[in-house]
Amino acid sequence: MNAEGTEPPVVLSVRNLRKYFPIRGGFFGTRVGDVRAVDGVSFDIFEGETIGLVGESGCGKTTVGRMLLRLIEPTSGHAYYRPTPEVQDRLDVLYRQLPATTGGDNNGKAKGPAAEQTIQELDQLATKYSLYRKSPRAMRKLRGKLQIVFQDPFSSLSPRMLIKDILSEPLEVHHAGTRAQRAARVTQLLKDVGLNPEHEWRFPHEFSGGQRQRIGIARALALRPEFIVLDEPTSALDVSVQAQVLNILKRLQADQRLAYLFISHHLSVVRAMSHRVVVMYLGVVVETALTDALFTQPLHPYTQALLSAIPIPDPELKRERVVLQGDVPSPAAPPSGCRFHTRCPAVMPVCSQVDPPMLEVRSRHWVACHLYPQGIHDTTSREPASDAADPLADAPMTATAT
């Protein structure tokens, strides 16, 4: 991702992550259907990088964030923790060979011996690297490295604990240091997030929302993590305080080479924070690009609509705006084909039939849309060629990226 072409090491490599929540009903609460909260999400998180995860409410952003910490177990798919570059390359090759529907687990229907071999190799790699195959003991060690800051600073801190107890609890759980060292660490943490060390003798209710959110960040930092999920960390805060918290997060990242997954529905904040952005719609990724590319040249119609829907604080600026009609469909019964086709302004007949593959349309700019049937190098298509061939060939390039 940096200019010299030497990529920083990958912290987490997420592949085909899925989570179906069962709908219980009928006789004795049998499973009558699934809410497909997350339906095949893949991306990589590099060291020292912020990935923005954006989408409307109910699109599965938070579920992805929680699965990366194993707060929710996925239905299928894997998150590989710190794969070496060779493993990473091998994973790419294997996943490309894999039919998209199997999700990297053995529960898919393997076609022929070659596919079976692919699945077997993936299984071995998963056993070695995937978060979801770690034993409870190994996972507990890892939890120090993977942390989360929650959305609501008012309900994520225990009202009955002193700030010093809140901050030293993770250290105690992981048996980190002596009592004196822990106390020193608490002081340091409070300083790191711009609070007064004397505040450690207070209770959470004595703080304002912004201060509480900083305590939440300090708690996440206690065990020197490598990766933090920021689940809408500023949506409960006012703009002037939001800027304080965002600046602290940026400074901490520069100091400690933290990787962030920044989940937000607020695109302006995402633009200010992230290096790369993943746009989700109804459980699937529709577009991934470097931040500037995504905001200046959005390709997917959904991203374009999302961007144009955001009010800009400048009364003199008048823009053409794409107002999407209707609501997000229910994830329990997602539309066939491209999930966005029910609201898409550039919908074509093929959209309701074929699920568009994720293609690298420009350098480091991936998009899943029938408007862009050709990747820059076709080998990057993760779909098998036979699947995507005929209906896409005739698809006209109607809309162009602006």
Partner: protein, 544 residues
């Protein structure tokens, strides 16, 4: 009969009823001293030196401490500020919806079209300070509070309506959408609706022909054609709601003309009201009329502050009368049969209201309950509800905060459309400066219970004067600009139990001077319509 809503409107010759007979008199009334200072023609709402306090166990929270602003006719005024600065309290104070206890409006003036909405405020409670504790004992006179509430119902919902922040909490979960909207319609426009229902002519000669045309149009299946034909059909029977109804029947039975013919026949039959039903509707109408007149008396009392006790008591006695026939109307079984035509009429009016806020399948939605709808849909229902009475002022309290950006765009589009089509003045309360930039004409920036800067939207965004406004504008991340270090305002919003002395912003202000700690800066004028309360500027002082 006169139109349903006949509240005398502000400056253009507010008719004042004679103190004994609550009838509309034609002569304009000489304005009294208090009304004299009242708004000129362009101002619809004037708030002056409004103070609202909350009496809590911790002490007195001075949520509003001298708020002064105006809303102009047909314009959108934005009220912007951080959490806890008193934006929502302002909205609730205007219609006197502050939860009491603990809240009390202490003093000030809220003039809406010449009527003093803070009528009888001084008599409502007495305050006894408790020595050495900084706390106050409040003795409320609940009869007075009740009387004021009764008067406010002449204004709430009909001249001033409010869209609340949380649509899921503002709707009643046990009534269907149609029921809830029907209630509002009946209350505010009931007389006109009953008149129209009784004036319908289902047997007039044009109806049969229009019906045949509608059946032809339905066969073609083109939405617009069916719509136009259905409208004609409704017009022929002089019942607009029949048009709406016919349209949805035709849509449902496009390919089955026989069924459509039958259904249309049924709808027409239902419009033929028998004498018992007509008598019941007359009764209903009279009840509404009495309430309407009572509201007029209330409104005039708030305008000229003279009590019209006799007229009021007479009306209330009439409203309470219960004859033998009326007793019959109160028996649920009979009442249900009699009120069906009115209910049906209201239902189809609700459907066309929902169409007006671009809800795709209004019939199903109207039959549904609030929990079946998404936040965006419910917010649109709320907007339909608050606009059904065609209010002069719409208070929108964070109407899009709970919604997604794509839905927010839809709602903002709708509000802009309403402003241009209906000419409603809007008081838009939000913490999102970007929303203000998109829809507002004027902006008031609030900080810790006071308005610190106000002016036209372009002026405020191009040339913010108060250090707080400057900090607020600098701290928004911009979507249209690449990322840079965000400016932030140090510190946080002060505690309003012990607010900072002088200018309440001085502890966070980069330019704080000694005088800022001691005295409250007055509003000064810095250019046309641009007011700011800060000692950095030496413009002419504007009295509140």
């Amino acid at each position: 009969m006169p139109a349903a809503v006949a509240i005398p409107s502000g400056a253009n010759a507010a008719p004042l009823p004679d103190s004994r007979t609550p009838r509309l008199s034609a002569e304009p009334v000489a304005p009294l001293a208090s009304v004299d200072a009242a708004p000129d023609d362009s101002t619809i709402l004037k708030v002056r030196e409004l103070r609202t306090y909350f009496y809590t166990y911790d002490g007195v929270v001075k949520a509003l401490d001298g708020v002064t602003f105006r809303v102009h006719r047909g314009q959108t005024t934005g009220l912007v500020g951080e959490t806890g600065c008193g934006k929502s309290v302002t909205a609730f104070s205007i219609t006197r919806l502050i939860g009491d206890p603990p809240g009390r409006i202490m003093s000030g003036e809220v003039l809406f079209q010449g009527a003093d909405l803070l009528w009888g405020l001084g008599d409502e409670a007495k305050y006894f300070p408790i020595a050495d504790s900084g706390r106050v004992k409040v003795k409320r006179k609940f009869r007075r509070i009740k009387a004021a509430n009764e008067r406010m119902s002449a204004v709430r919902g009909r001249s001033i309506s409010t869209i609340f922040q949380e649509p899921t909490q503002a709707m009643n979960p046990v009534f269907s959408i149609a029921d809830q909207l029907s209630e509002v319609l009946l209350l505010h426009r009931g007389m006109a609706i009953i008149d129209e229902l009784m004036a319908a002519t289902p047997d007039s000669p044009g109806v049969g022909k229009a019906g045949a045309e509608l059946i032809d149009a339905a066969r073609s299946g083109v939405r617009e054609e069916i719509k136009a034909a259905a409208k004609k059909f409704g017009a022929a029977a002089r019942a607009p709601s029949l048009g709406t109804q016919a349209f949805y029947i035709a849509r449902a039975t496009t390919s089955r003309p026989e069924e459509l013919r039958r259904e249309l026949g049924k709808s027409l039959t239902r419009l033929r009201l028998n004498s018992t039903i007509r008598r019941y509707l007359h009764y209903q109408r009279r009840q509404l009329e009495i309430q309407e007149k009572l509201n007029e008396v209330y409104f005039s009392e708030m305008t000229d502050r003279a009590p019209h006790t006799v007229a009021r008591l007479g009306l209330r006695r009439r409203a309470g009368q219960l004859g033998l026939t009326h007793l019959y109307y109160r028996i649920p079984f009979f009442r249900a049969r009699l009120s069906n035509p009115l209910k049906r009429e209201l239902f189809w009016r609700v459907v066309s209201l929902l169409e007006g806020v671009s809800i795709a399948n209004p019939v199903q939605i109207a039959r549904g309950y609030p929990h079946e709808l998404s936040g965006g849909m419910l917010q649109r229902v709320m907007i339909a509800m608050s606009l059904s009475s065609e209010p002069d002022l719409l208070i929108a309290d964070e109407p899009t905060t709970a919604l997604d950006v794509t839905i927010q765009a839809q709602i903002l589009e709708l509000m802009r459309d309403l402003k241009s089509r209906v000419g409603t003045a809007i008081l838009l309360i939000t913490h999102d400066l970007a929303v203000i930039a998109e829809v507002a004409d004027d902006v008031c920036v609030m900080y810790a219970g006071r308005i610190i800067e106000q002016g036209p939207v372009r002026e405020i965004f191009r040339r913010p004067l108060h250090p707080y406004s400057q900090g607020l504008l600098a701290s928004i991340p911009r979507l249209d600009q690449p990322s840079k270090e965000l400016a932030s305002i140090p510190g946080s919003v002060p505690n309003l139990i012990n607010p900072p002395t002088g200018c309440r912003f001085h502890p966070r202000c980069p330019y704080a001077m000694p005088i800022c700690k001691q005295e409250i800066p007055p509003m000064t004028s810095e250019g046309p319509g641009h007011l700011v309360a800060c000692y950095l500027y030496q413009g002419p002082v504007v009295p509140p």
